[in-house]
C-alpha cells in the first residue's frame, strides 16, 4: 500500500523541505541584522530584474544543470558521485587543451571537439573510482572525494607551468576569437528577441537543455537506463534478471563524469574562453543539491538548477547592496541539501502519518 499519494511524494515533500530551508535562511539573515523579506526581494530582482542579470542567472543555471545531471545519472545506479567538482575541473582541462592546440576552423566544430574532450576527460576522472567500486568494493564516495582533491594540484601544476599564459596569473592563454561560442543575445537575436549581450549566458545553455532531454531518454527510454534503474532499485533482482553490476556501475559513472566534464562547455569555452584556477567554483558540489532537490529527474533538475542560478546571481546582489557575503548562498545550499537529503525522513514521516490518518478517517 502507498503511504501517501504520488503528488505528495514528488511535490509536497520537496516543497516543504524547501520551505524549511528558506525559513531557516531567513532566520540567519535576520540574525545578521537584515530584513529577510527585503533580502528576498533584492535577490529576485537581482537575478531576474534586467536581462543582463538574468543572463548571469542562466549562466549559473547552465553549470548546475550539467553537474546536477551528473549526480542524478550516477544516483540512478545508487552511486553517490561526489566527485563532480573534480570531474568538471578536469573536463575544463580537456576543453582547454582541445581549444588551445587544435586550430578549429569554426566555433561549431570547436564546440563538438572541445565538448567531446571535456566529456572524455571528465569521464576518465570518474573511471578509476568507478572501477575500484565495481571490482574492489572501494567506497565510491571516498574515492571521488580523493579525486576531487587530486584534480586541484594537477590543474594547478599545469596552469603554473606547461600551459600557462604569459604574465602573472596562473591561467591558460585565451582561446582564438573565432571559436568563441555565440552569446545568448546573439542566439535570441536571430529569433528577433532582444537580450543583453553583457551577460555570460551562451550557447552552452542549449547544450545543457539537450543534455536534459538526452538524460531523460537515456534513463527512461533505453535498455541501459532501464537496467541502471533496476540495478539501483534492487541488486538482487538485477542479478536474477541477468544484469551485469560491473557494467552498470562503470557506464553510469562514466556518463556521470562526462556530464560533469561537459560543464566546461559553459564556464571554460563559453564564458572565460580560457582555463583559470578554481574554474568550477563549487558548481560540482551544488550539483548534489540540485539533483537532490530535483529528485534526480531532468525536469526537476532543470527547475532546481534555475532556482540555484537565481540564488547565485541574487546572492551577488545581496553582497553588492547589503554587504551580506556571497557565502550566504552556500548556507542556503547547505540547508537545502540538509532538508531535502539528510533530514528527508524528518519531513516525510509526519506527512505520511497525516495521510494515513486521513485515509483511516475516510475508511470509517
Amino acid at each position: 500500500m502507498n503511504k501517501m499519494p504520488n503528488w505528495a511524494d514528488t511535490i509536497l515533500v520537496p516543497l516543504l523541505s524547501l520551505l524549511l530551508a528558506a525559513v531557516i535562511s531567513g532566520v540567519v539573515i535576520a540574525l545578521i541584522g537584515h530584513n529577510p523579506i527585503y533580502a528576498l526581494k533584492l535577490m529576485v530582482s537581482g537575478a531576474l530584474g534586467t536581462s543582463t542579470n538574468f543572463s548571469y542567472t542562466l549562466y549559473y543555471a547552465t553549470n548546475f544543470i550539467f553537474t546536477g545531471l551528473a549526480v542524478a545519472v550516477a544516483y540512478h545506479a545508487r552511486m553517490f558521485n561526489i566527485g563532480g567538482e573534480g570531474q568538471a575541473y578536469i573536463g575544463g582541462l580537456g576543453a582547454a587543451l582541445a581549444c588551445l592546440y587544435i586550430p578549429w576552423p569554426h566555433w561549431t566544430l570547436a564546440l563538438i571537439g572541445g565538448g567531446l574532450a571535456a566529456a572524455i576527460f571528465g569521464a576518465a576522472w570518474a573511471a578509476i573510482p568507478a572501477y575500484l567500486q565495481a571490482k574492489r568494493g572501494s567506497h565510491i564516495v571516498i574515492t571521488t572525494i580523493m579525486f576531487n582533491y587530486m584534480s586541484y594540484p594537477v590543474v594547478n601544476y599545469l596552469l603554473n607551468g606547461p600551459i600557462k599564459a604569459e604574465g602573472m596569473e596562473p591561467a591558460t592563454p585565451s582561446f582564438a576569437a573565432e571559436i568563441a561560442l555565440p552569446n545568448l543575445s546573439a542566439i535570441l537575436g536571430t529569433f528577433g528577441i532582444a537580450f543583453s549581450d553583457r551577460g555570460p549566458a551562451n550557447f552552452a545553455l542549449v547544450i545543457a537543455l539537450l543534455a536534459c532531454v538526452g538524460v531523460w531518454i537515456l534513463i527512461w527510454r533505453t535498455k541501459l537506463g532501464y537496467e541502471t534503474r533496476a540495478f539501483g532499485e534492487s541488486e538482487s533482482a538485477a542479478k536474477y534478471a541477468g544484469i551485469n553490476p560491473t557494467k552498470i556501475i562503470m557506464i553510469a559513472m562514466l556518463i556521470s563524469g562526462a556530464l560533469a566534464g561537459m560543464m566546461a562547455i559553459n564556464n571554460v569555452m563559453g564564458e572565460a574562453e580560457r582555463l583559470v584556477l578554481n574554474a568550477v567554483e563549487g558548481a560540482g558540489f551544488i550539483g548534489i543539491a540540485v539533483a537532490l532537490m530535483g529528485r534526480n529527474h531532468p525536469l526537476g533538475i532543470l527547475i532546481a538548477a534555475l532556482l540555484f542560478g537565481i540564488l547565485y546571481q541574487g546572492g551577488a546582489e545581496l553582497s553588492a547592496e547589503l554587504r551580506i557575503p556571497r557565502e550566504m548562498v552556500t548556507v542556503i545550499q547547505a540547508l537545502v541539501i540538509l532538508f531535502t537529503g539528510a533530514l528527508d525522513n524528518m519531513v516525510r514521516m509526519p506527512i505520511e502519518k497525516l495521510f494515513l490518518s486521513l485515509r483511516r478517517k475516510e475508511a470509517k
Binding site: 567506497h139 548562498v329 552556500t330 540538509l338 539528510a342 533530514l343
Partner: protein
C-alpha cells in the same frame, strides 16, 4: 643529493605543527566511524570551530573561552549529524556534505556581520591565542638557533616552542588507544560499529552509544579547529581548514581506523604538507626539482591505493554508514 635534508629541523618542526590538527580531526573521525557513523563533515566542524574560537577569543580576550565556544559549535553540528543519521536514519554522507557547506558559508557570513573585515576575524594576540611554550634554556631567536649545534636545535625548535594543544596531543593518542581497547566504553563503541545487533541484544542502547561517539567526534574536531585559528595561526580566515578535514579522513582510512596508525598517518601527511611549503629543502634532498603539487596530491593518491586494497585492505567498521534498524 643530500638525503639528510629530509630531516631538516624546520621541516620536522612544521610537521609537528601541521600534523596536530590532522591528528585531532583524524581521531575525531575514528570515534565516529568506529561507532558506525560515517563522517565526511570533519572539515565543516573544524571550520566552524576555527571561526567561533577565534571570534570568541577576540571578543572575550581569553583563548580558553574561545576554544570552548569552538568546541560547542562543533558539537552542535555533530548533534545535527546525529539527528539526521541516527534518529532519522538519513544518508550519513549527504548529511556530512550539508554540514561542510553550512560551515563553509556560515563562518564567512557571521564573520562579516560580526567584524566587517571581509569574512575574517581580527588578528589575535596575547591571551586571545595559544602562545608557544618555551622550554627552559631553549633558544628563541632564529639566528641563535641556526648557529646552535644539533641537540640544541632539536631541543629549541622541534621540542620547545609549541602551543599547549600540541603537547596535549602527545598524550591524546595513548589516551584514545586506552579508551578504545581497555575500557567498557571502548568495547561497546567498537562493537556498535561492527555489529549493532550484538550490542542491542546485549541490552545496550545503540542510539545512545552512537550519540556519545558523535559528540566526542565533535569535541575533538572542535579542538582541531580552535588550534588552527588560535594556535597555528592568529585569527580566522575564510576556508582556513583548506581540506584538512578530508586529509584527516584520508589519514583515518590510511591508518585503518587504528589510533597509533592514525598518529603515523597524520605525521606522514603533516610532513608532506610541511615539505610542500619548503620546496627548496626537497630539491636539496633529492637533487631534482619536484613540483609541490605532487606533495599536495600524495595523501590522496596514497589513500586511494590503500582503499583499492593494493597494500593491505582497509576494511572499515562493518556497520559503518548503515542506520540501525532492529530486524525481526
Amino acid at each position: 643529493m643530500d638525503l639528510l635534508a629530509f630531516f631538516d629541523i624546520a621541516v620536522l618542526d612544521g610537521t609537528v605543527r601541521l600534523a596536530t590538527p590532522l591528528l585531532l580531526a583524524c581521531l575525531a573521525g575514528l570515534f565516529s566511524e568506529r561507532a558506525g557513523i560515517f563522517d565526511i563533515g570533519l572539515e565543516g566542524k573544524m571550520l566552524i570551530s576555527a571561526f567561533l574560537a577565534a571570534a570568541v577569543s577576540f571578543t572575550s580576550g581569553s583563548v580558553w573561552i574561545g576554544m570552548f565556544a569552538g568546541i560547542f559549535a562543533s558539537v552542535l553540528l555533530s548533534l545535527l549529524h546525529g539527528l539526521a543519521s541516527i534518529t532519522f536514519r538519513g544518508n550519513q554522507l549527504i548529511s556530512g556534505v550539508a554540514i561542510n557547506f553550512f560551515a563553509s558559508g556560515i563562518t564567512v557570513v557571521a564573520a562579516q556581520s560580526w567584524f566587517g573585515q571581509g569574512g575574517r576575524t581580527p588578528s589575535l594576540s596575547g591571551d586571545a591565542r595559544f602562545e608557544s611554550i618555551q622550554f627552559p634554556g631553549a633558544l628563541t631567536r632564529i639566528r641563535d638557533i641556526n648557529k646552535a649545534d644539533l641537540p640544541m636545535k632539536v631541543y629549541s625548535e622541534l621540542l620547545s616552542g609549541h602551543t599547549i594543544i600540541v603537547y596535549m596531543c602527545i598524550l591524546i593518542v595513548p589516551l584514545v588507544w586506552w579508551i578504545l581497547y581497555r575500557t567498557r566504553f571502548g568495547l561497546r563503541l567498537r562493537a556498535v560499529g561492527e555489529n549493532p545487533g550484538a550490542v542491542d541484544t546485549a541490552g545496550i542502547s545503540v542510539v545512545r552509544m552512537r550519540y556519545m561517539a558523535v559528540i566526542i567526534c565533535g569535541v575533538l574536531c572542535g579542538m582541531a579547529g580552535a588550534y588552527l585559528s588560535t594556535g597555528l595561526q592568529a585569527g580566522f580566515v575564510r576556508e582556513m581548514t583548506a581540506g584538512r578535514g578530508y586529509i584527516a579522513l584520508a589519514a583515518l582510512i590510511f591508518a585503518k581506523w587504528k589510533p597509533w596508525s592514525a598518529l603515523g598517518a597524520t605525521l606522514l601527511f603533516g610532513y608532506l604538507q610541511a615539505l610542500a611549503i619548503r620546496p627548496d629543502i626537497l630539491e636539496r634532498a633529492i637533487g631534482i626539482r619536484v613540483q609541490t603539487q605532487v606533495l599536495d596530491a600524495l595523501p590522496y593518491i596514497l589513500t586511494v591505493i590503500v582503499l583499492a586494497g593494493f597494500v593491505g585492505k582497509a576494511i572499515p567498521p562493518k556497520a559503518g554508514g548503515e542506520p540501525y534498524v532492529k530486524e525481526r
